[in-house]
Structures are given as structure tokens and as C-alpha cells.
């Protein structure tokens, strides 16, 4: 009796640690503590599960600890080696593994049922099937997201004609088969369950296939939410409260981030999933179409004698691995008394908040990182706004041109700064393929070239002043 009390107290504490850890994660000062607290909760839950009394258990500790040790070692090494630019890929893989685990667990329970080794209530069968389907979709969807993010698979390689219609048909087929397997009860048989698993795996792959690279922050958030839901469903199978709570918390986190990312792009989730940007045949920017270039020296002078400068980094900065050089420019300017800030759009980077991590890695203190509203306030009084590798998130068409595909998307109003310097490789339009009238504005100057090279040269100029 006493042991059951302590075991369950441990599970209760684990749940409290999860919730409290997530709570602490909401402030940069306490976030690290929060993560450690959540990890401690997980350790406690695992320990309690290993030691709790179970009737008729054969324990198999060698198998358990062996699997955990191998998995733990792989996870540890991966977490040390991954580059911060590759975080979206890593999170995608982990999402996928969580989904795969749920698939294996659900499949084992279903096999036991169909072999007559166990008995399941109707509701439990439904939950097992849900864990199987959601887990499978999460697994293949995440793996494809990883391959796309890593540039190993291009959109056009995996997209078929009428892919959206195909996806809708497949979704209906998957749901219909799930219901049918459920209605067969214990007579469905393992082969039918395997068939359902395969169909779900194919659907997961197919549902991510047509989603474009710019929409990846939404997809990763959504898959994160799915991985939580599959964990929660597996929790119902085993009647484990800690799994239910943990899974649902992750589901909630993923859902909130999905909604925030959709809002940041002014698009509905449905639009992201079945839409994708059209060709974007919007009217060309009005006014004169000449761009004005600025020399490195002039740009350096402009920055050096400014009172306040706002950098607007985009994914181009990360691709060029130029975060550290940007920080060097920041240091040189700050040393001269320039007030330097960074304006970060919510969808800058390839996952929610990605750009903040990249800049933190380059030692930029987080109070300098402004979110959308703070940055727009700062831009009103800024002397110079410097755009590095960003495009669509600083496009004035989003506010002025109802015909633009990104009309209504909240953007950083860099044009309200006195001067705008755009660091850009060429005049090619951005990821979404939309022309940007910002480049033709009177207070905009272009500084062409590779972001890292240009920033390095800029730093040299500043040092010589």
C-alpha cells in the first residue's frame, strides 16, 4: 500500500514539474530552470514506472534499460552536434520519433487484441486506433519535413498533379478505414490494422508534400501538436495520467504556435494546408522603378553617425552564416554610442522563434531583440533600418496593395525609418516570389552582395573610422 502511495505521488509530482517547467519557460530569465524542472519531472516519471508494482510482470529490465540507454546516447550526441541553423530539422526528426513510438505501442496493443491475448473495451480500441493513425501521420510527415528543410527533397520532386484533391481523398479514405476497422471489433485482424498503418504513413507523407518552404514554421508547429496528441492517446491505452497530461500540454503548445504562425502570415491553417502561394500576379509597384545603390563607405558613415539603428535579419542571414559578423558590426556601432536593436518577424527563419536562437548563439543579448510591435515602434524613430536577407516580411505591399498575395500579413514597417539599407544578393524576388516596392522607395539604398561578405567589409570600414 505504502509503495503505491509513493509511486503515485511521484507521478503527481512529475505532472506538476511539467506544468511548472513550461510556466518558467515563458520568461528568458527562468527558462533554463524550467527546462531542467521538466526534465526532472520526466526522470521521476520514468523511475516510478520502472519501480511500480505490477501484477504478473516479467519486468524484462535488460530490454528496457538497454533500449533506453541506446536511445538516450543517440539523443545526447545528436543534441551536442546539431548546428543551431539545423534546429528545425532536429525538432522535425524528434517529432517523428515521438509519433513512431506511439505507432509501435498502438500496433502492439492491437496485435495482442487480435491474437486473443488481451481484451479491449470499445473506447480503448478507438483510442488505440487514434494513436496509430495520428502517430503514423506524425512520423512520415515529420520525416518529409526534415528532408525538405535539409534541402534533400525539393517540393517539385514530391508533388503530383491535383495533389490537394488527392490529399483530401486520402484523408477521407484513412478516416473511413479507421471507422471500419473499429466496427470490426476484435475480429478485424492484424493485417487490417497493418493496412491502416500503411495508409496513414502514406497520408502523412502526402499531406506535407505540397506545402512550400515558406510555410514550414506552420507545419512544424502542427506536427509538434500531433506528436503530443499521439502521446496522450497512448496514455489512454495504458491509463497513465502522466502521459495524458504531458501529451496534452505538448498538443496545446503546438496548437498555440500553429495559430500564432498562421496569424503572422495572415492566412488560415486550411489555406496553408491546401493553398500555398499562387503565382502572385499582383500589379507591379507604382512610381519610378529605379533602385539607388549605396557604396560601402557611405553605408558605413550613415551607420556610424546614426543615433539608432534597427537590423532586420531574415533567413538569408542564417544561410550566409553571417550572424557573428552582424554582431561584430553591432559591437562596433554600439561602441560609438549608436543604439542598436534587432526587429524580428515571427516567421523569420524556418521554425517559430528560430531567428532569436540564431542571434542568441552569436551572443546578442535578448533585450535587444524586438518582436513585431516593439520593432515597429522603434522603427518610427530609427535613423537607419538595415535589412539583411529578409524580403517578404518588410514588403509594404502587405499594407497597401490589396492585390498582393501577402496583403494583410503583418510586416515590419522599415520604410518609416529615415533611411533604409537593403543588403541583398540580387534583385530576385524573395521566397514567395513577390516583387517588393520597398526597393524602389526614395529613402531606400541597395547594397548588393553576399550578406556575410558585405557585413565583413562593413565591419572593416567601421574599424577604420
Amino acid at each position: 500500500m505504502a509503495i503505491a502511495f509513493w509511486i503515485n505521488l511521484a507521478f503527481l509530482l512529475a505532472v506538476v514539474f511539467f506544468v511548472w517547467g513550461l510556466r518558467l519557460l515563458s520568461s528568458p530569465d527562468t527558462a533554463r530552470k524550467g527546462n531542467i524542472l521538466a526534465a526532472a519531472g520526466m526522470g521521476l516519471a520514468i523511475l516510478a514506472t520502472l519501480t511500480m508494482p505490477m501484477e504478473g510482470a516479467s519486468n524484462n529490465y535488460a530490454w528496457i534499460l538497454g533500449g533506453m540507454a541506446v536511445g538516450g546516447a543517440i539523443g545526447w550526441v545528436a543534441s551536442r552536434k546539431v548546428a543551431m541553423t539545423a534546429m528545425p530539422q532536429m525538432v522535425s526528426i524528434f517529432n517523428g520519433l515521438g509519433g513512431a513510438t506511439a505507432v509501435v505501442l498502438a500496433m502492439v496493443e492491437l496485435m495482442n487484441l487480435y491474437n486473443g491475448d488481451s481484451h479491449m473495451e470499445g473506447g480503448q480500441l478507438a483510442i488505440s486506433l487514434a494513436a496509430l493513425v495520428i502517430g503514423a501521420v506524425t512520423f512520415t510527415g515529420s520525416m518529409l519535413a526534415y528532408l525538405k528543410l535539409d534541402g534533400k527533397v525539393k517540393d517539385k520532386h514530391v508533388t503530383l498533379p491535383y495533389h490537394q484533391a488527392l490529399n483530401i481523398l486520402m484523408l477521407i479514405a484513412t478516416l473511413a478505414l479507421t471507422v471500419w476497422v473499429y466496427l470490426q471489433g476484435s475480429g478485424a485482424g492484424t493485417n487490417l490494422a497493418l493496412g491502416l498503418m500503411v495508409l496513414s504513413l502514406v497520408y502523412g507523407f502526402s499531406f506535407v508534400a505540397p506545402i512550400g518552404g515558406a510555410d514550414m514554421p506552420v507545419v512544424i508547429s502542427l506536427l509538434n501538436s500531433f506528436s503530443g496528441l499521439s502521446a496522450a492517446a497512448a496514455g489512454f491505452i495504458y491509463g497513465s495520467q502522466v502521459m495524458i497530461v504531458g501529451g496534452i500540454l505538448v498538443g496545446a503548445a503546438g496548437t498555440i504556435l500553429t495559430v500564432l504562425m498562421c496569424e503572422a502570415m495572415n492566412r488560415s491553417l486550411l489555406n496553408v494546408l491546401i493553398g500555398g502561394f499562387g503565382g502572385g500576379g499582383s500589379a507591379a509597384a507604382q512610381g519610378d522603378q529605379t533602385v539607388r545603390e549605396v557604396s560601402l563607405t557611405d553605408a558605413a558613415i550613415m551607420l556610424y553617425y546614426a543615433q539608432s539603428v534597427v537590423f532586420v535579419p531574415g533567413y538569408g542571414l542564417a544561410v550566409a552564416q553571417a550572424q557573428k559578423v552582424l554582431k561584430e558590426v553591432d559591437d562596433l556601432l554600439s561602441a560609438n554610442g549608436v543604439d542598436v536593436k534587432y526587429g524580428i518577424h515571427p516567421v523569420a527563419g524556418r521554425m517559430p522563434g528560430h531567428m532569436n536562437v540564431l542571434l542568441a548563439e552569436a551572443d546578442v543579448p535578448y533585450p535587444k531583440l524586438l518582436d513585431l510591435d516593439e520593432a515597429n515602434e522603434a522603427l518610427k524613430s530609427a535613423d537607419v533600418a538595415v535589412i539583411v536577407g529578409a524580403n517578404d516580411v518588410v514588403n509594404p505591399s502587405a499594407e497597401t496593395d490589396p492585390g498582393s498575395p501577402i496583403y494583410g500579413m503583418p510586416v515590419l514597417r522599415v520604410w518609416e525609418a529615415k533611411n533604409v539599407i537593403v543588403l541583398k544578393r540580387s534583385m530576385n524576388p524573395g521566397y514567395a516570389g513577390i516583387q517588393n516596392p520597398l526597393f524602389f522607395m526614395d529613402n531606400t539604398r541597395m547594397l548588393f552582395g553576399d550578406a556575410k561578405k558585405t557585413l565583413t567589409e562593413l565591419a572593416t570600414e567601421l574599424k577604420n573610422m
Binding site: S27, V70, I244
Partner: protein
């Protein structure tokens, strides 16, 4: 329909737990600032590795001579643990970098 009624009534506590966790989750997480969205996601991701608990329960209950089930359980424990350890460790690595002005 009867099975649905029955499931609902028999799992009433779990369903309450589900509902309140949803509310709690949205309350706690909606306050997280943009700066922390990536660590939040990878930390949450680590928590979803809680499925490893299911793998442990499964393995403990599997007869010691059922090698198919043992193998599948081993796989589940392995995958779940990659998610747990990797997730928490990488989140810690990221949060270590978030510093205030020196």
C-alpha cells in the same frame, strides 16, 4: 453508442483531466514571448517523449519469451528516449545562449 457512453462513464476522471489540462496548457503557454518560441517547441517536444513510459509498461508486462513484442518494445523505448534526452539537452543548450546585457 453504448460503448461510447460506457467509455465516457468509466474514464470520467481521465476525461476531466484531459479537459483541465487543455485549459491549463493554453493558459500557461499563450504567455510565452516570441523570443522563446523555439526553445518552447523543443522543450515541449521533449515532454512528448513521455510515450517512453508506455514502452516501459509494455516491456514489463510482456512475457519474457515473446521476442517479437520484446523487440518492438525495445524499439519504442529507444525511439522515445532519443526524443526525451535529445529534446531536453538541446533545449538546455539553446537556453544557455540567451543572455542579458553584459
Amino acid at each position: 453508442m453504448d460503448t461510447v457512453y460506457q467509455f465516457f462513464l468509466e474514464n470520467l476522471t481521465e476525461i476531466y483531466l484531459l479537459v483541465f489540462t487543455v485549459i491549463l496548457g493554453f493558459e500557461v503557454i499563450s504567455k510565452v514571448p516570441t523570443v522563446l518560441h523555439t526553445p518552447l517547441m523543443s522543450g515541449a517536444n521533449a515532454i512528448s517523449g513521455v510515450v517512453v513510459i508506455g514502452a516501459i509498461i509494455l516491456l514489463r508486462l510482456t512475457p519474457s519469451d515473446n521476442y517479437l513484442m520484446l523487440g518492438l518494445g525495445f524499439l519504442a523505448a529507444l525511439l522515445g528516449m532519443v526524443n526525451v534526452v535529445g529534446g531536453f539537452a538541446v533545449t538546455d543548450r539553446m537556453l544557455e545562449m540567451f543572455k542579458k546585457r553584459k
